[in-house]
């Protein structure tokens, strides 16, 4: 069975240690997490976890049914690429000379990023988008002196909305 990147969304009780329970389950069942984001939702009682991991169809089913059994998990579902929005946020700090500045600015504009911090010797760029866009941007700037990178990992949502009864 071929493995591919799977993205799943998990709604959990907004309580202490719940993240540990989910992550520890992934660890002990042998699933490697590529990225993980956790955030509050519009319901203060719930948090949302988005997990990306390398899996097969069978391992995806296994991890979903195992995670479902956790007492603090309210809902869990895989997000299919075609029906979902995947976004990542990048912050990257580049050590720059005066000469490089305008060339970098041009690349940032093409990618619709923002320069959010500037000093005589450095700049910080902010960029959001799909993983492939962030990867593409990183390739474009890898000839410069990158000193720090921070990526949030994927956060994701299904497109459309059906009112539930």
């Amino acid at each position: 069975m071929t493995s591919k990147k799977e993205v799943i969304s998990i709604f959990v009780d907004n309580q202490a240690n719940v993240l540990t329970r989910v992550v520890s389950l992934f660890g002990r069942r042998g699933f490697n997490i590529d990225s993980l984001t956790v955030s509050a939702t519009n319901d203060p009682a719930l948090s949302r976890i988005t997990v990306v991991f390398d899996g097969t169809e069978q391992s995806l089913a296994q991890i979903i049914t195992q995670t479902e059994k956790l007492e603090n998990v309210r809902a869990i579902f895989p997000l299919k690429k075609e029906d979902s929005l995947f976004r990542e946020l990048l912050l990257v700090k580049i050590a720059v000379t005066k000469e490089d500045r305008s060339a970098i600015k041009e690349i940032v504009e093409i990618y619709r990023g923002k320069i959010v911090d500037l000093s005589k010797t450095s700049m910080i760029i902010e960029l959001t988008g799909e993983t492939s866009k962030i990867d593409g941007f990183m390739k474009m700037i890898d000839c410069y002196n990158i000193v720090e990178v921070c990526r949030t990992g994927i956060t994701a949502m299904e497109r459309g909305w059906e009112e539930k009864e």
Binding site: A16, T20, R21, Q62, T65, E68, K69, L70, E71
Partner: protein
């Protein structure tokens, strides 16, 4: 009514009909134990020699009574000593509630004396756990603990309570708790019809069932299905006793040390009905080749067990009792004379094997025990060769009468579990079958058996080696006996006498029968040191990852 946290614990135990608990006191647990003193007329507390023994006792109590086992321990080492017992219960899906005390909340996280984060430690081996550091959280956490332990696929839950909470006061009115009937997974009509069609159309069907059938109390329905559709059945160790040993369609234990008949039948079957079982690596040794000719149907209460180890063709997520109740009316009376004959003929070729130079063989010991005890007897084992001999040779008749650590394989489980079983079943005979290796781990619980006047008979299969590992070293490691021949000189008779119990020795079958009869007359614990040959092996045997083709028979 204003109650302290500790009184709330006692009241909630009573609300859940708990009248017996096991445990060991300590500093952080002082308030809790003070409440247990106050409630001692309603809640019997059995103090063990070691918290591990208490955890195994709560487990043995649960396995033998079907009720939730409850164990108490103090913070730090008290709590960590429970871990093996909790993990044992977790692997075998046994309902247990462990209540630990922790240091006061003001000291949490400061590496206080006897502080440990037991919720962190037990996260992977509990269904759920609670850290209670506010009195308001306590009632719900305790009620939820029982609900979670007892619902769906059962298992252990731990509630860790800081010492300040055990003293704090809260308004609590006992008796208001109403348990919601747990949601039971049931099959659909379509699922029942599909499985019934497969059964009605099969030519070489076989049932392979596990602990789920015991936990679901579905033995009667299973026997009815075997009879009506004329299907032979094999079981895992967790389900020994669910069908009687003398049932003509019972072909015995499956897997690594299962019968030749069971392993061959599964290999030849055209329909495999896996009921309440999880295709563990001790049964489906080679998951790709297990029951390779069969259409595989799996029925289990836990959705996560479907396709986990072995890919099945059809699966139903359901309580097994509900499933069989729905299925039986759809099953046609059927006969598979040549298939059943073929399978049961194979069963007859599985004889007792005697090796070693001793005058006393394990099969003789176990056969004598069966002859001299009544059919209500509860057998408890430790882990190793003696456990497999017990699983193979005991004449199992009743569900919940064979208590053994299946999934975790916990050496040292037996004596604590036997104590729990005897406390839970004061009118039944409890026989503890152990080996000298396992027994050395937790024989300290003899003091508990003496204090509580428990007439548990421990049968020590004493081969002076760590038998199971020794056997593997013989077969797979050219007899390089690394750390399995400890040359211990333990005199078990003197040891139990030192504890205040009775000890006997047996070196041949006649002697064994004679001392066993004497043991049955004693009022406290008895140990019988049985001299077994060290070359005695557990057979048949299929090496890990192997198939029926790799079976070692003699």
């Amino acid at each position: 009514m204003k109650l302290t946290g500790s009184q709330v614990i006692a009241e909630i135990l009573l609300e859940h009909k708990v009248d017996t608990v096991f445990g060991y006191p300590g500093g952080a647990a002082l308030n809790v134990y003070d409440a247990l003193y106050e409630y001692k007329d309603q809640i019997r507390h059995i103090m063990t020699a070691h918290e591990q023994g208490a955890a195994h006792a709560a487990d043995g109590y649960a396995r033998s009574t079907g009720r939730t086992g409850v164990v108490f321990a103090t913070s730090g080492p008290g709590a960590t000593n429970l871990v093996t017992g909790i993990a044992t219960a977790f692997m075998d899906s046994i309902p247990m509630v462990a209540i630990t005390s922790n240091v006061p909340n003001s000291q949490i996280g400061k590496d206080a004396f006897q502080e440990v984060s037991i919720t962190g430690v037990t996260m992977p081996v509990t269904k759920h756990n609670f850290f209670v550091n506010k009195i308001e959280m306590l009632p719900k956490a305790l009620h939820d603990a029982f609900r979670i332990a007892e619902s769906g696929r059962r298992g252990p839950v731990l509630v860790d309570i800081t010492k300040d909470v055990t003293a704090a006061k809260i308004d609590y009115k006992p008796g208001n708790y109403q348990s919601k009937p747990a949601e039971v997974a049931r099959p659909t009509e379509k699922e029942l019809k599909k499985v019934a069609d497969l059964i009605n159309g099969a030519r070489r069907p076989i049932i392979y069932f596990g602990g789920g059938v015991a936990a679901g109390e579905a033995g009667l329905q299973l026997r009815e299905l075997m009879k009506r559709a004329d299907i032979p059945a094999t079981y895992t160790m967790m389900a020994a006793g669910v069908i009687g040993y003398d049932d003509p369609r019972n072909i015995g234990l499956l897997g690594m040390h299962g019968t030749i008949a069971a392993n061959r039948a599964v290999d030849k079957a055209d329909l495999l009905l896996a009921f309440g079982t999880r295709f563990s690596d001790r049964v489906a040794l080679n998951p790709k080749k297990f029951a390779k000719k069969a259409t595989k149907v799996q029925v289990d209460i836990d959705k996560a067990e479907i396709n986990k180890n072995v890919h099945v063709d059809y699966a139903v997520v359901s309580d097994i009792g509900e499933f069989l109740n729905g299925l039986l009316p759809l099953i046609e009376k059927n006969e598979h004379p040549s298939w059943v004959k073929e399978v049961t003929e194979m069963k007859k070729t599985t004889g007792d094997v005697k090796q070693g130079d001793s005058d006393l063989h394990p099969s003789e010991v176990i056969t004598s025990i069966c002859d001299l005890t009544d059919k209500e007897t509860i057998y408890v084992t430790d882990v190793g060769q003696h456990q497999m001999w017990a699983a193979q040779y005991l004449k199992h008749k009743n569900t919940h009468s064979f208590i053994t650590s299946g999934g975790l394989g916990t050496m040292g489980f037996g004596y604590g579990a036997a104590i729990g079983a005897q406390i839970g079943n004061p009118n039944k005979r409890v026989i503890h079958i152990t080996g000298d290796g396992s027994f050395h781990m937790n024989l300290n619980e003899a003091c508990t058996a003496v204090s509580e006047k428990l007439p548990i008979i421990s049968i020590i299969m004493n081969n002076r080696v760590l038998g199971m590992v020794y056997q593997w070293q013989t077969v797979f490691y050219d007899g390089r006996y690394s750390s399995t021949t400890p040359e211990r000189k333990t005199d078990f008779v003197k040891v139990i006498e030192g504890f205040g119990g009775t000890g006997y020795r047996a070196e041949n079958p006649e002697q064994f029968r004679e001392v066993f009869k004497k043991a049955l007359q004693q009022e406290g614990p008895v140990w019988i040191d049985c001299k077994i040959g060290r070359e005695e092996r557990v057979l048949p045997m299929i090496p890990g990852g192997g198939t029926v083709e790799d079976m070692i028979i003699g």
